[in-house]
Amino acid sequence: MTMRIRALARSLVLDPLRVIRRNKMGFAGFLVLSFILLLSIVGPLFIPLDTKTKIDQIYNPPSWKHILGTDSQGRDIFSQIVHGGKDVLLVAFLSSAISSMIAVTFGSLSAFLGGRFDSLIMTVTDIMLTIPHFPLLSVLAAFVKFTSPVMLAVLLGLLAWPGFLRALRAQVLSLKERDYVQAARVLDLGLGHIIFREIMPNMMAYIAIAFILGMTGAVYSQVGLIMLGLVPFSGHNWGVMINLAWTRGAIFYSGSMSYILAPIAMIALFQWSMVAFTRSLEEVFNPRLRMGQ
């Protein structure tokens, strides 16, 4: 029994880690992503947010005390970066989770049930695809009060699924004709088994990658909306930082460059790390590569 547990640990933790390390780009992405997650989730517990206005320290350049300098009110930028990530990550994760859930559920049902249901889903999807999202969000923002990042995430998630759904449906349509799926049908293993045990494992890489790319999309949408001031929610957030830096004229002072560049750099780094990490994911989900053959 211990052997089986050890085997399980190996296949769930050690093997994926080994595979991740094999792709250098993916491994770099993995490290940066881990660092950002750690900084944004654990960081705030140790680094207090600097909220006190200090008029004698406006736009100080980076120094040992303030490694990224200070903002228009003399507050430490680094502490804002540390605290500003959580909401961005939360919105990205939640919104992509919602859109993925919709895409996976309805995409696979659509492919499996076919007929009228399929036509209905595809029509709705096509309509959703043709709506320009950004203007719609801007208009919605005028009517809906965004008080929390969760609300924003839900809204973004509800708009982001159509492309993913179409691609997923195509995948399922091809996978469900595979010989081993037919064998499972003949063996009467049931629709649940066929979807979750035969088809899903062969789509996990695809779903994981689409999920991560969905997160990058959500990051852009939310930061864009916040930066343009269309979603005026308060709090500390990389998007809000850019918005503030922009509206308070940080771009006009050479000493204040880090105020606007730091959140932009964090967002860019976060996006890059996720895209790079997807390179490793494909290998993690492929048993052939996982087994090191």
């Binding site: 595979r178 494992p201 053959q293």
Partner: protein, 345 residues
């Protein structure tokens, strides 16, 4: 002579209580169709009838595109007929109550052609075998599953089973994968197996061992077979005491006991096919008298020839008859069935 009479008697018995029976089954598939072109139908099977009785082997032989794989899928319940019925012990499988259908599903299994596509790459061999065992309540515990899976691997000559149990398909050779596919079909103790080109993608040197394994299932477990192949020599070898059905463009043109059909083919297509086969024996193959065909082009399923479908290629074509009248599969006194105007005249 004695043997032939016995075979005829067997054939009659087969008709009386078949495990699987195809009753005038037609299958069409829609083809194309857009704003610019009319939607057409491809008639893949055209009123196909045959019956297979317990313990028997029926080989379905034909060239690519003749509908033999579609027939296999219909028998295995993966497709439903456009017209006609597929019967399991006399009951239409698509009109069964769910309980009966479940029993049919377990009783009829399928072995596919491509050993590289028939196993899920994401599952270990044990997982592949365990799923049906657990699903159908054949085993209750992990230990039972393990020991049953080992037995099955032993049955298909993957020994010692421990070497294979936790491997993934990509770690096995084509022949080994095919054995796993067979073991998977055996998990539910089927009484009927559809083997669709089960050895055509296997290396020559190990092909025979898979055939031997299937023969053993037939002889020791009493499994009834529909053996689908393009290889008449392999059909003859596997169905030495069984029957062969020759299919052309969705219709059965001839059915008979293996020995009689090979010795004295009655349908011009069967004859042309037999005489054209290259044989692994230089003396035999270089001195074969081949029967030429009038055309090498196989007609499209979207635009089938009128009358007998073989008439545009047939050397014995009778104008005004073969291209007008559809020949019916007619029984002859030796128990054989042939669909040819030459033979009914």
């Amino acid at each position: 002579m004695m043997k032939e009479q016995k075979n005829t008697a067997d054939a009659r018995k087969a008709a009386a209580d078949p495990v699987i029976q195809m009753d005038q089954v037609t299958k069409t598939f829609p083809w194309g169709g857009s704003i610019l072109s009319r939607r057409r139908t491809a008639k893949v099977l055209d009123r196909v009838s045959f019956a297979i009785s317990k313990g028997e082997v029926l080989c379905l032989v034909g060239e690519s595109g003749c509908g033999k794989t579609t027939t296999g899928k219909l028998v295995a319940g993966l497709l439903n007929p456009t017209e006609g019925r597929v019967l399991f012990h006399g009951a239409d499988i698509w009109k069964m109550d769910p309980q009966k259908f479940k029993a049919y599903r377990r009783a009829v299994q399928l072995i596919q052609q491509d050993p590289y596509a028939s196993l899920n790459p994401a599952h270990s061999i044990f997982d592949t075998l365990k799923a049906p065992l657990v699903r159908h309540g054949i085993v209750r515990t992990q230990e039972e599953a393990l020991s049953r899976a080992k037995e099955l691997l032993q049955t298909v000559d993957l020994t010692p089973p421990d070497d294979f149990l936790f491997k993934y398909p990509h770690q096995l050779s084509g022949g080994q994968r095919q054995r796993v596919s067979i073991a998977r079909a055996l998990t539910v103790n089927p009484e009927f197996i559809v083997a669709d080109e089960a050895v055509s993608m296997i290396d020559v040197s190990i092909r025979l061992s898979i055939i031997a394994l299937l023969s053993r299932l037939k002889n020791e477990l009493g499994v009834t077979f529909l053996f689908i192949t393009h290889d008449l020599a392999m059909a003859r070898y596997f169905a030495w005491e069984g029957r062969i059905a020759v299919m052309y463009l969705g219709s059965i043109v001839e059915i008979g006991t293996t020995a009689r059909l090979i010795q004295e083919p009655l349908h011009p297509y069967t004859k042309a096919l037999l005489l054209a086969i290259p044989e692994a024996d230089p003396e035999i193959t270089r001195h074969k008298q081949t029967l030429p065909v009038r055309s090498l082009d196989i007609p499209s399923l979207l635009d089938l020839p009128s009358g007998c479908k073989f008439h545009p290629r047939c050397l014995f074509f009778i104008e005004g008859k073969c291209d007008v009248e559809v020949p019916q599969l007619t029984p002859r006194e030796d128990g054989r069935l042939v669909a040819c105007h030459l033979r009914s005249a």
